[in-house]
């Protein structure tokens, strides 16, 4: 099961060694309707992170007022990122120096560990930052919500793009299936294809696909996808196909959004061409006669696609 963020406005962890600061910040957030918890040190904070799910963590840097040099907050920031990269981190401190700010906002693996850095005197801005952090999270959870929906006319899951998880080899058949699903969606009302998710909605991630590629990351994956489109559908069809990568928990999945095509799309198979249409939650091959009928009905006025139910 995946956690797709419950209905509550968002849950927030506040870490500061000073009780007054904690209660002030907690009260402020509470009054906005957030679910809040607090910790006074690194150990307690990590215990909570491991036991519960948080959307945002607000961290003080000096978690021991008696020690001028203490920077436990920065350490904690990295520890939280390791455990749950989806938690947005806000640093709040009374004693910021440039070095600290740089460490908190310096990108690691493409993204900064902290989303924002603010001084304790700017507590009013805190709510703005929290909202920003939660908005970020909500775009991410589009994929999460799709997974909860389960497969339907507009949504299909595939465990992988090219790596056959059962046989442990790169599979031509799988790649062809991806092309067929996309062709079916192009010829029907469009939809989304999620790769890295099994039929029953389990998030498997893309690591196996990545490892099978020369460039073992999202870039390499995207190139492989474009290659498949080029081979089976023609590269110009990419204008209606929009891949993006999203994090779900600790896994990456690829969401391919497919627009309805303004004209029929044929799939090249060896020396012949085939016509596929997505109907319900499956893709069907139509023979020549059925394809002709379908074309007449679906693309009225010759070739203009008449948008019907896509994009509800």
């Amino acid at each position: 099961m995946i956690d797709c963020h419950p209905k509550s406005k968002g849950s927030i962890l506040v870490v500061d060694d000073l009780p007054d600061v904690r209660t002030t910040v907690l009260g402020l957030l509470l009054d906005e309707g957030y679910k809040v918890r607090s910790a006074s040190n690194r150990a307690n904070a990590l215990e909570l992170i491991e036991a519960e799910r948080f959307d945002v963590a607000i961290l003080d840097i000096r978690l021991d007022e008696t020690d001028e040099e203490n920077q436990d907050g920065l350490l904690l920031m990295h520890e939280i990122r390791e455990r749950d990269p989806n938690i947005a981190i806000l640093i709040m401190t009374a004693y910021a120096d440039v070095k600290m700010v740089r460490e908190a906002l310096q990108p690691v693996n493409g993204s900064a560990p902290a989303l924002g850095f603010l001084e304790k005197t700017e507590i009013v801005d805190l709510l703005k930052y929290v909202e920003l952090a939660l908005n970020n999270r909500q775009t991410k959870s589009v994929v999460c919500n799709l997974i909860t929906q389960g497969e339907n006319e507009h949504l299909e899951f595939k465990s992988s793009l090219r790596w056959d998880l059962n046989l442990g080899v790169v599979s031509k058949v799988l790649q062809q299936e991806v092309a067929i699903t996309i062709a079916g969606m192009l010829n029907a009302n469009g939809g989304n294809l999620l790769i890295g998710v099994s039929d029953d909605g389990t998030v498997l991630g893309l690591e196996h696909d990545f490892q099978s590629l020369r460039k073992k990351n999202a870039d390499g994956f995207q190139l492989a996808l474009i290659d498949i489109i080029r081979n089976y559908l023609g590269v110009e069809k990419m204008t209606h196909i929009h891949p993006s990568f999203e994090d779900v928990g600790n896994q990456k999945v690829c969401m391919i959004s497919v627009e309805p095509s303004p004209e029929p799309v044929f799939l090249a198979m060896g020396n012949s061409y085939e016509f596929f249409v997505r109907v319900g939650n499956a893709t069907h091959r139509l023979d020549v006669r059925a394809a002709m009928d379908y074309r007449r009905m679906h693309w009225k006025n010759g070739g203009d696609y008449v948008q019907n139910s896509f994009g509800r």
Binding site: T23, G27, L30, E52
Partner: protein
């Protein structure tokens, strides 16, 4: 585990008090929600169970005579008898407090206890005691 933390509702029309009292209680580990009026409090009580409600007597700062908090306390006692009530007051009017603390024929009383706003230091202890008592 999450669900074993007692749930407390803080009802006060003054934002500073709501946030101070609410913040204090979260910090010691309680699950807390806040409401600024009787209506908002009742909406919350209808959707989730609270172990304790901490409520301001007046609930309407513009009206010196307001005892809306007591009315709300009575309604909570009727509809959710297992929910404990603590009255918070900024002005220890003994008459109102007597009413809240008075025992009825069956030996029950409206509020488990009361606390003055000037004594927030005692808040956590008063809440703990109220939750312990049966």
């Amino acid at each position: 585990m999450n669900n074993q933390r007692p749930k407390i509702l803080v009802v006060d029309d003054l934002v500073d008090w709501r946030t101070t009292l609410g913040g204090l209680l979260v910090d010691v580990g309680y699950q807390v929600a806040v409401a600024e009026s009787s209506a908002a409090a009742l909406d919350l009580l209808k959707t989730e169970h609270f172990d304790l409600v901490l409520l301001d007597v007046r609930l309407d700062e513009t009206d010196e005579e307001s005892t809306e908090g007591l009315t709300l306390a009575g309604e909570i006692k009727d509809r959710w008898p297992s929910t404990k009530i603590i009255i918070i007051t900024g002005y220890g009017t003994s008459e109102i407090l007597n009413k809240a603390m008075e025992t009825d024929a069956e030996g029950r009383r409206l509020a488990a206890n009361y606390i003055e706003k000037t004594k927030t230091g005692e808040l956590v202890q008063v809440v703990r005691d109220a939750l312990k008592k049966e």
